[in-house]
């Protein structure tokens, strides 16, 4: 069966520090992968999506970047965090005729 792993679950980082959130998928190959952010009181904002290794599409210009070094690995990064980067980050993989399967999320608080 297919599963998606996302870590860490919670993270508190100071302003200006780097960020690396990792997401891995098991049980499937060449998945479409996505990073979403959910800010308090707001809906889901698509940040990045990837249809293959090394292929990254950015939806919103911002302080973040994404990489896909392996088929089933998707990483969200930042060189210097801002207070506005706080939020709930969700990784997802998309499956034809099914929809999205989401990870359990990472609660990032920038202080």
């Amino acid at each position: 069966s297919q599963t998606i792993h996302q870590w860490p679950a919670t993270l508190v980082q100071p302003v200006g520090s780097p960020l690396s959130l990792e997401c891995t998928v098991e049980g499937t190959s060449n998945p479409n992968l996505y990073w979403y952010r959910q800010a308090a009181g707001r809906g889901l904002q698509l940040l990045f999506y990837s249809v293959g290794i090394g292929q990254i599409s950015s939806e919103v210009p911002q302080n973040l970047s994404a990489s896909r070094p392996q088929d089933r690995q998707f990483i969200l990064s930042s060189k210097k965090l801002l207070l506005s980067d706080s939020g709930f980050y969700l990784c997802a993989w998309g499956q034809l005729n099914y929809g999205y399967t989401f990870g359990s999320g990472t609660r990032l608080t920038v202080v």
């Binding site: 996302q6 479409n32 996505y34 979403y36 707001r42 809906g43 889901l44 698509l46 999506y49 249809v51 709930f88 969700l90 997802a92 998309g94 499956q95 034809l96 005729n97 099914y98 929809g99 999205y100 399967t101 989401f102 990870g103 359990s104 999320g105 609660r107």
Partner: protein
């Protein structure tokens, strides 16, 4: 491009009462439609989806949604809610290529005893 509007940000309702969460979409192409549920501090879980066929789709926990193409709507309903249904619900739309999903802003359902 597609977009999704969830008209109610919060819906309070008493236990065992019926509920409807509204979702409208706009798209210049045919779409797939989804409802997701999010419990506090968790990821989103697929509740139900419309891909093709019958316009009325049901979930295993008593929710149903009806695809109305003329009104571009996909409202979620349940005839009798439980306390455990308290969560945030997101409507989403995707084009046939499934490359990108667009989510509504979410509706918080608060079921009161």
């Amino acid at each position: 491009a597609q977009s999704v509007t969830q008209l109610d940000s919060q819906v309070p309702v008493f236990e065992e009462a019926p509920v409807e969460l509204r979702c409208n979409y706009s798209s210049s192409v045919s779409v797939y439609l989804f409802w997701y549920v999010q419990y506090p501090n968790q990821g989103l879980q697929l509740l139900l989806k419309y891909l093709s066929g019958s316009t009325l789709v049901e979930s295993i926990n008593g929710f149903e949604a009806e695809f109305n193409k003329s009104q571009t709507s996909f409202h979620l309903r349940k005839p009798s809610v439980h306390i455990s249904d308290t969560a945030e619900y997101f409507c989403a739309v995707s084009g046939y290529n499934f490359n990108k999903f667009y989510f509504g802003s979410g509706t918080k359902l608060n079921v009161k005893p």
